[in-house]
Symmetry: C2
Subunit: 85 residues, 2 copies
């Protein structure tokens, strides 16, 4: 049974994940990743993987869904950065 | 008592929050926010506030600390965006 707080968490997940999508699309479309910092995205990616582990521990559906998607999106940006330079 | 998973969460918080700081510094230093999307930061900010509410519900120290700091940082970027245009 999903309670009201789980809905708040899923809405949070939706908003913060959605705010990440335009960057991925823009980078893929323009085939340019000059203004992205590889170091920052590597740090961010490791952080998101740790959030995912933490979310699994907390049995939080919102955290597991959000951090899985964001991990894939940030990994895509890292791949784009390495490929397009 | 802080357990090993709370340390994973706090490390996650440190990494994802740290990856946000250079953008704030760069924007403040350059007094330019042309390439920042106001809509995206507003969506992101609302998402972070919801994560904070969710973290308080989960009694997660890592989520409360990380999302409080990130809320302030993203609010700063919104203020910069409105001021420097």
């Amino acid at each position: 049974m999903i309670d009201i707080y789980e809905i708040v968490g899923l809405l949070a997940a939706l908003l913060t994940t959605a705010s990440f999508v335009p960057q991925v699309y823009k980078t893929w479309k323009s085939k340019s990743a000059d203004s992205l910092s590889l170091t920052m995205y590597l740090v961010f990616f490791v952080g998101i993987v740790l959030w995912l582990i933490y979310g699994i521990h907390l049995k939080s559906l919102a955290m597991i869904v959000a951090n899985s998607i964001t991990a894939v999106l940030s990994l895509l940006l890292i791949i784009f950065k390495l490929r397009y330079k």
